[in-house]
Amino acid sequence: MSELLKCQQLTKDYGGVLALNYIDLTVESGKIIGLLGPNGSGKTTLIKIINGLLTPTSGTVLVNGMAPGVETKKIVAYLPDNSYLNSWMTVGQIVDMFTDFYEDFRPELALDMLKRLGISPEAKLKTLSKGNKEKVCLILVMSRNALLYVLDEPIAGVDPATRDYVISTIINNYNPEASVIISTHLISDIEQVLDEVIFINQGNIVMKKSVDEIREEHGKSVDELFREVFRW
């Protein structure tokens, strides 16, 4: 078990608003981890820093021992919380693009998953339904053989069928050597899939524990506990 992600005194200050408040955090390999917290708690900020899309105000973040850069981008598969793909591109063109740039991308796997959903590679992204668009994005990310998967709100605003699809796709493609970080504010849908939860609130890490530990200690689901403690 190596330290896949290590944050030390990580801080992000948006001009007086502390989105991350001197966070220390370590994530080992071989785990599915929930990054839980209400909207605006700092989840997306942390994820964007891990992916090198934001520059921290102070502190360090190391992915597999390296600061975010070309080498970390090779091993991190990232699903942003907004639609980030060129809508004029076809699904096939995007698959080609991922094949071109990511050495660990497995196009046969992606195309097979798309086929099973009945999504044609010729389909333009903008003609797809919202649910299908989300599924395409997830398929692209999970078709990589990455070391760290970072999924930002993969089940927010999708219908229950899509949500089930997302969860089973994550489980199906999970590789015990890798780790998956899933950020969400919808805990009850996803807690069964998680090894550990990291609860983040107002830029602070409030708790980092395994799901079974929480259930054992409190006799209630993670979702219930957080609703109670943080009164969402």
Binding site: K31, I32, I171, P176, Q192, V193, R215, K220
Partner: protein, 120 residues
């Protein structure tokens, strides 16, 4: 066949153990028959593969199942412990039920009445 419905207030790992024990005790899987894979159970139950792996290892510790390198998990010859687990499960579930009924101030006599009614 069993539906993988899990209680959200209890740890997941022991629940997976119980459910698999029920399957084996009910002879859904016979001794030396190949069991579901970790991934299959994880997807069916919608839970973490690591947790399922841990549950399998616990069942292996009880001698209920054994693993063959490269080909997966198999049901052991001795299904005694599965039966024990199921017995325990029956016992605790019934106890839970009785306790629930007590809360509804239903006497043991009345409970028996109901059970008789339902069994006919």
């Amino acid at each position: 066949m069993l539906v993988w419905e899990l209680d959200k207030t209890r740890p997941i790992c022991p629940q997976i153990c119980e459910q698999l024990s029920v399957l084996i005790a009910a002879e859904e899987f016979k001794p030396d028959e190949k069991l579901l894979s970790v991934r299959e159970v994880a997807v069916k139950a919608g839970v973490n593969p690591n947790t399922v792996q841990k549950a399998f290892e616990q069942l292996e510790g009880q001698g209920l199942i054994y693993s063959v390198r490269g080909s997966g998990w198999f049901v052991g010859a001795d299904t005694e412990s599965a039966k024990n687990t199921v017995e325990e499960l029956k016992y605790s579930k019934t106890k839970d039920y009785i306790n629930e009924m007590k809360k509804l101030s239903l006497s043991a006599e009345q409970v028996k009445e109901y059970i008789k009614e339902w069994s006919e």
